[in-house]
Amino acid sequence: MMRKSRAFKLDNAAIVERDGTGKAYIHQYSRYQVWEPVSDDTFLILFTEAIFGDTQEDSVRLLVEAGLDEYFLEDVANALLPNSSALLIFFPQDSLVDTRQLLGDLSKFKGALIHMTFPSHIIASVLELTRSE
């Protein structure tokens, strides 16, 4: 039996900053590299850019078509007000990170914490729709 860890890679995380004018800046460790068609961070990048990026409508439609709730996605997008920032951390289903401990750690920050779970077929649908775009 493998022991779950609290450590995770930078690939798992993205940071979004929204300035006073409302423009969002997305920072992700591996987003400037050439990705494999399906890598661990592909979904994180797609999700972050769909929710907070400049091309929101088309990208959000893709997530909705894959089965994610449109109103929930809108709530997440609207939660990032001007002059605020967000940290996103994604763990694929085969991750060995102990997310229960991480949830406890993150809840100690002064911020609004949103925790989402995605069945594997949703992830597969998003990636499949991306490939067919």
Partner: protein
């Protein structure tokens, strides 16, 4: 089996964020 996503939204710029006491014992030991 499912994947998980955490979104933590701060009502401030990231550079002003303070690391909360006790957020991670390991991190504190390493002086992070």
């Amino acid at each position: 089996m499912h994947s998980e996503l955490f979104v933590l939204i701060f009502n401030q710029e990231l550079r002003f964020l303070e690391f909360p006491a006790g957020a991670s014992d390991d991190a504190e030991k390493q002086g992070i």
